[in-house]
Amino acid sequence: MRKLITPEMAMTFIKSGSRIMVGGFGLVGCPLTLVRALSETGIGDLEIISNNLGEPGKGLGVLVREKKVKKGIGSYFTSNPDVTAAYQAGELEIELLPQGTLSEAIRAGGAGIAAFYTPVGAGTKIAAGREERTFADKRHVLQEALKADAAFIKASHCDELGNLVYSKSARNFNPIMATAADLVIAEVDELVEAGEIPPEDIVTPHLFVDYIVLKGERGK
């Protein structure tokens, strides 16, 4: 399979200072092998777009502890006290978005839409200072699209072309992040042959996927 590489090789494409999207809702659907491989490099100064920044010492939480994250863009960081501590210490910048605005901005980034108007957040502190506009007598907030240098995503299985399907609620942010980065690396549980996934069931067509890494693999 031409797209299959090791986690270590995948990290050679990532530079310090990069902006990386990481799939998952908490640890569910998070590409833990890729995140661990990243934490084992000296790469830092990262901007991470992810709903959460993991749990203390788990998933993206490892990168937070190692002070490799410069900025987090997401919707719910409260569940990791390390994030709160780093934020209060001025070591971590946070951009907080409503979860639907976050996911829509990522989709827009992948879909070539520069910006959109959402009613969510209008008239609240989260939208303070943001551009507003009224449509159908309702206040809306302008949100620009989000893109990234790389996306780390987690799928359940993958065929040899790079077509992906996801397991249950581990789908979450993964399919949209797969569309919105210059370089997309998918961590998968299992590889199958082309044609084994029915064409109607493919969630992420292979044109979005640059490289594949097997879950749990290391050190080749």
């Binding site: 908490g26 569910v28 719910y76 960081f77 979860q99 605005t101 996911s103 609620s169």
Partner: protein
């Protein structure tokens, strides 16, 4: 029955057969246990499931199957999974019939604060704003007062507002309020609660809904 369960049971009485319902953390989660007979609802969770089922038995959890509170769940027949953008398109696009939410406070126009605490770092919002903005109907379930005995229904919010949208119903252990453009309307109060007690424990003005008895009476299922 605990007070929280009583509130959940009251809220369940407002659900209609076939409703697509999103349940918040806390009291709202309990609502699923008190559905009236003949009422089947479909539970939506914003991380990407329609058709959430009961909590799995210990040892039967699937690590890929959680709700928005990151707790293990099961799914019912006919459930479906979708990505986060699709899930919030459902919410924001008005496809969720009812959201049931917990709150820090509600103001006298029926607007809610439930995402941030003043003075503390604001580092989490999740789907709270989307659900308030987009759901066809929003029901708040809450204790009438805080642990310290202070009203949770207030004239002006002390906490940051979650949305300018007013909720449709506020259900506490003491009373049920509807809202209109002018404010809160008392629909019913619990049997042992006097009007005086209600006024005292409610930090906001409210009117009594016309044609409604306001003491010792609960609305029936689907009464809204």
């Amino acid at each position: 029955m605990s007070v929280k369960k009583i509130i959940a049971q009251k809220a369940a009485g407002y659900l209609n057969d076939g409703d697509v319902v999103n349940l918040g953390i806390g009291i709202p989660t309990l609502v699923a246990d008190y559905l009236p007979e003949g009422v089947q609802v479909f539970l939506h969770t914003e991380n990407g499931i329609l058709g959430v089922g009961p909590t799995p038995e210990a040892g039967m959890e699937d690590q890929d199957l959680v709700n928005a509170g990151k707790l293990p769940v099961t799914v019912i027949k006919g459930a479906s999974y979708f990505d986060s953008a699709a899930s919030f398109a459902m919410i924001r696009g008005g496809h969720i019939d009812v959201s049931i939410l917990g709150v820090l406070e509600v103001d006298q126009l029926g607007r809610v604060a439930n995402w941030a605490v003043p003075g503390k770092s604001v580092l989490g919002v999740g789907g709270a704003m989307d659900l308030l903005e987009g759901s066809k109907k929003v029901i708040v379930t809450t204790m009438h007062t805080t642990k310290k005995g202070e009203p949770k229904i207030v004239r002006e919010l002390n906490y940051p507002i979650t949305s300018q949208r007013r909720v449709d119903l506020i259900i506490t252990e003491k009373a049920v309020f509807e809202t209109d453009e002018r404010g809160l309307l008392l629909v019913s109060s619990s049997e042992n609660v006097t009007m005086e007690e209600l006024r005292k424990n409610t930090g906001a003005d409210f009117r009594v809904k016309e044609g409604k008895e306001y003491e010792g009476k609960e609305p029936g299922a689907g009464a809204d």
